[in-house]
Amino acid sequence: MAPDALPRLQAVLAELRRVPDILGATIARRDGILIAHALSRSLDPKKIAAMAAAIVGTSEMAAIEMGLGEFNQSIVDTHVGKMMATGAGDEAILVTMVRNEANMGLVLLSVERAVESIAEILRVAEQAAEVTT
């Protein structure tokens, strides 16, 4: 990876965490491997990455089966809050956890911005890697 890609991804996650009521965020690859995370210590980011991949994969398949077009986001709604798994480019998923009190308009807007940045950072990193190989 271009040496600055990981810090840039971390910066995107840090920015996201500044939004009120966002509890944590993780970037995973679509095959369930952890890329980067900003989570509290009690959570295992690798497990969350694997589960997010399963959720997104299953949701994508369900969307196709039901003729609902291209996958955008899965939301898991609980009595404490919500977990959103959002596609970020072809390779990555952004997992965002929020409290139920959150201003969802603001959260969704921030998530949308974050996935755009992540997709771009990974695209540039991948291109740089191709040039050097």
Binding site: G32, I33, D44, T58, E126
Partner: protein
Amino acid sequence: MMAGPRVTPPRAKTGIPVLDERLQGGFPRPSTLLLFSDKPTEKRLFGENFAIQGARSGEVSLYVDFFRAPQLARGELKRFGNVPTDKLVFVDAISAQLLLRSEEPYRIEDMNSLDDIRSSILTAIEAVRPARIVVDSMEFLIDRFPKEEVLKVWRELIDAAKAAGSVICFLFINWTLVERDLQTIRAMSDFVVEFQSSLRGGIVRNSMRISQMETDGVRTNWIPYAFKDLVGVTVYFPRILVTGPFNAGKSTVVRALSERAISIDRMGTTVAFDYGSVNVTGIEAEIFGTPGQERFEFIFKIFAREVSGVLLVVDATRPEDLDRGKQMLDLVGPKIPYVVLANKSDLPGALAPHEIARRMDLPDDVPVVPTVATEDKGVRDALLVLAEMIIGVR
């Protein structure tokens, strides 16, 4: 603790048990290692790890660092955890350039003089008689001084290391030399450790390959490795897939292998996946268990990427499911090492491993390991067998 002379063991351990096993206990003493890559990779990690493993086992390591002042290097090495500082001696190449006073007993005063560099390092080797020497790195010299002269110094350092009975590692990225010069350098070495890094989907993977220059010497496959905080370099398999037909015992295998596992199952069958992480004898691995039923095959496809190896679990009492087992291997793709686990081998009517191999028409080099996953039997052996296949050895 008792001070006093101690006998230096004949082999220098890497601290990575699976590798040390391949090397019959470590790199022989004396010997010359070339840590080589043709672009920047994390081979310094291996050099540092090698020096630190030595220091930890009571050997003295000499680290020649052309890039970092010793204070800085010592700070960076803290990520390996506790290092006995008296066992790690630096040759300081930086302080004189920065006009700083150096507390280091060994230092190079004039970095513009190859002769000064040479004699400073030789003095340190003769005085310290280290068990291990790391020279970080040779491209620094090749970039600054005439090639022939650097090669001459290179040979002198090898001779000095031999006289001191040390294992000497040269880090080297080749920017400018042609193949013929590289041949010469390889021929001066006893072992070449090559390094490569790749990027896929935002994840960097590092791997290394060890070749002994001697004919019929050790030669490994590309071995994926990672750095673990406070420990050092470990062999790391980013994904071991546990798969097999319905009700063969895949989830139980994942649970038996991992310290903490999660399973997403309903009514006793896995509907999404199992996941666990393993840490045995210097191998770290992430284990992904797939569902067995055909209707969940799409889940299988999510996880069947970048697979290091496969544990194929079959129920030894159900010959009728063996075909499905073979079919699941095809889903993973060709050329991926796999081991067959003949599970439930304690039950009456269980087929013997060779019988399973015959019925599945397995190639001769595919091991079939009898297991009883519910009792933790054979499962770990199967993983180690798989690890050996991935690492490979001649």
